[in-house]
């Protein structure tokens, strides 16, 4: 008898967990993720890239960040758990990658390779990264 109760309780718990998981998957908001990939060795340019991107997102995209439509993720690819990103996005140096996530799945991504052309100008760097983010945010609505 006691065993029967235990099994029932377990089944109910499992059903609740599955329901909660299904709800959370369905509720995952579509979003644009701005990845900044770096390694253990941080150069001056790498710090600039990080700061300029964070600054841009806090100023120009504050509303999108607050609503969860836009997210910044900074990852060290020298750490074991992040190594797969090197293959996933075919990275060859410190990089900023935009990822469009719809229904919990990445539907497209872009490696913003031109950031290296704009390292001498914060304004041009932010203009370029900002335009790319705008484009990806536009894709969210489609």
């Amino acid at each position: 008898m006691r065993f029967k109760y235990l099994v029932s309780a377990l089944m109910i718990a499992a059903a609740m967990a599955a329901g909660a998981f299904a709800c959370s998957a369905a509720e995952t908001p579509d979003s644009v993720v701005v990845y900044y990939f770096h390694t253990n060795f941080r150069c001056a340019n790498c710090h600039n890239m990080e700061n300029w991107t964070k600054e841009l997102m806090a100023a120009r995209f504050k509303g999108d960040v607050d609503s969860g439509r836009l997210e910044f993720r900074m990852l060290n690819t020298d750490e074991k758990a992040n190594k797969h990103f090197m293959d996933d996005y075919k990275l060859y140096t410190k990089s900023i990658v935009l990822s469009l996530v719809k229904n919990g799945k990445e539907t497209k991504y872009a490696n913003l390779a031109k950031i290296w052309d704009y390292l001498r100008s914060k304004e041009k760097f932010q203009e370029y990264v900002g335009a790319q983010i705008e484009e990806y945010l536009g894709d969210l609505k489609r």
Partner: protein, 225 residues
Amino acid sequence: MTLMLTALWLGILTSISPCPLATNIAAVSFISKTIVHPRAVFLSGLAYTLGRALAYTILGMLIIKSLLGISAVANFLQRYMNQALGPLLILAGAIMLDALKISMPSLSLSQRHQNRLAGSGLAGACALGAIFALAFCPLSAALFFGSLIPLAMNTPAGIGLPAIYGIGTALPVIIFSVGIAAGATTLSRWFGRITTFERYVRKATGAVFILVGVYYVLGHILHAI
């Protein structure tokens, strides 16, 4: 022609950025160590350029022929070449400063040979060029793997572009070295102390190598920078 100029410009752009500044300082110091002989400095600079051009050509060929994957090789070189560079430069610097003497039971190198091994010779300049070329920093990796290689892959004669890029990366270093040598020659002649001058420059090169080596150890092995 435009592609060749682009490759050259990418090389110059790499060289004048702060990213490879430490290795450029070591290279200028090494190339101009025969400072009162501008011709020797020039030849040493050419050997250094050849080393860089060769390294980029071989690497470029391996990638273009799909023998190596861009991501894997780029990350391997950035990680391990830079880690190896620190101890290597400290060792070479110590030999140049005579702080370290190499002696093995079966192979004993005289002081003269030791000096030649670490501190002179066109082969040394060529090897230095190749090693420094392969020790990619974030910017040189971005320009080489991200801009030059795609350019070379989409062009029939693209296989020659990495060599031109290599020349571009060495050009500012050579111009600087020859300029210093020309100035120093005039200076040392004024003071009439050519031999003393050259000895000090050689020691200074050893010290520069050790400092740059320490910088690489701190940055790439200890991650303290």
